[in-house]
């Protein structure tokens, strides 16, 4: 009986994990460079972003600034196109105190910031970005 339960739990976890992570994972890694600086590491399923947009109250979406509303189609188009292009460094800024890199690698958009104070690494699946912005565009009421 217990074995059946554990087997069922195992397969449920496996399938649930596959559903949750089918769009990939968002990773955020922040390390402060001071002695005993904070280290934050977040690994979250990307589907949470697109699912989360579904639950944003309609009244908040009505209050979205017009400029943000108008930029949504461009963001969807940009995310679609980014999925198609080959791997590349889109933007790189280097100065004596800081280095910022925005890169498309595989199916992910990666942002790396390395400064005197901290290093930040953010990795987002592009498909999740596209789905989330498209969902937002579909839910935002027309003006």
């Amino acid at each position: 009986m217990l074995a059946k339960f554990m087997t069922g739990l195992f397969y449920t976890t496996l399938v649930g994990g596959a559903v949750l992570f089918h769009e990939g994972a968002i990773t955020v890694n922040v390390q402060e460079k001071r002695p005993q600086g904070d280290h934050v590491y977040v690994l979250a399923p990307a589907t949470l972003v697109s699912w989360g947009v579904k639950f944003v109250p309609a009244e908040h979406l009505r209050r979205m600034p017009e400029e943000a509303r108008q930029s949504l189609p461009a963001l969807v188009a940009a995310a679609e196109q980014l999925e198609k292009i080959p791997d590349t460094v889109l933007v790189e800024i280097t100065s004596p105190r800081e280095r910022v890199k925005v890169e498309k690698r595989g199916n992910r958009l990666i942002v790396d910031v390395d400064s005197d104070r901290e290093s930040v690494h953010v990795s987002i699946p592009l498909r999740a970005v596209r789905h989330a912005v498209a969902e937002l565009q579909a839910r935002v009421p027309a003006t």
Binding site: Q70, A74, A77, I85, P86, V89, V91, I93, S95
Partner: protein
């Protein structure tokens, strides 16, 4: 010695299949045009900025941008005037004439030259102070891009058509600026890096 044809055919088929699968991707990548921007600032606080964007991305995103004067890739420019000169009228005139120098402005501090040569619109600006060159600006735009820019209505510049024309053009350095501590380059090629 007996030769098994299968031993020769199978590797050949594999190579042919791999070539067929990768050739379209390689061709597509070779045809992808990229716009690169590099800004290098020298000095202690110097900063280097590199931007690499495929023109296809700009082409896909531009129609979706709707701001005050920009819609569907067209920029409304009812009055594009620089120093009281109607730039659209000048560009339209340049389009229909043969190679030559059209505008030369020489002053104590600045020399400006606008010319058409070998299918390009050339703009050169040289700024000098005390006989020393302080700033050097070179702009080189293919005439096909200028024509595409002017292909829309009289009161608009068709940026989308210009980007499409640029995508079909060969490698070209569009803008070069050299100042005392800063150099700026904008160019088009088929590489996805600026190195």
């Amino acid at each position: 010695m007996k030769i098994n044809p299968g031993r020769i055919l199978l590797p050949l088929l594999t190579i042919a299949l791999l070539a067929a699968l990768t050739a379209p991707a390689a061709q597509a990548q070779a045809q992808e045009r990229w716009i690169h921007v590099r800004v290098v600032e020298s000095g202690d606080r110097g900063e280097t900025v590199r931007v690499n964007v495929p023109l296809a991305l700009a082409e896909a995103v531009l129609p979706s941008i709707k701001v005050k004067h920009l819609e569907n890739g067209k920029l409304k420019v009812n009055h594009v005037r620089i120093e009281d000169v109607d730039m659209r009228a000048i560009l339209a005139a340049v389009k229909n004439t043969q190679d030559g120098e059209f505008v030369t402005v020489e002053s104590k501090r600045e020399n400006v030259r606008v010319a058409k040569k070998s299918g390009y619109l050339l703009v050169e600006v040289r700024e000098t102070r005390d006989g020393v060159e302080k700033e050097r600006v070179d702009v080189k735009v293919p005439m096909t891009v200028v024509e595409a820019l002017l292909s829309g209505e009289k009161n608009e510049l068709d940026l989308l058509a210009a980007i499409r024309a640029l995508s079909k053009h060969g490698d070209v350095e569009l803008v070069s600026v050299k100042e005392r501590n800063t150099t700026v380059r904008v160019w088009i090629d088929s590489k996805n890096t600026s190195e």
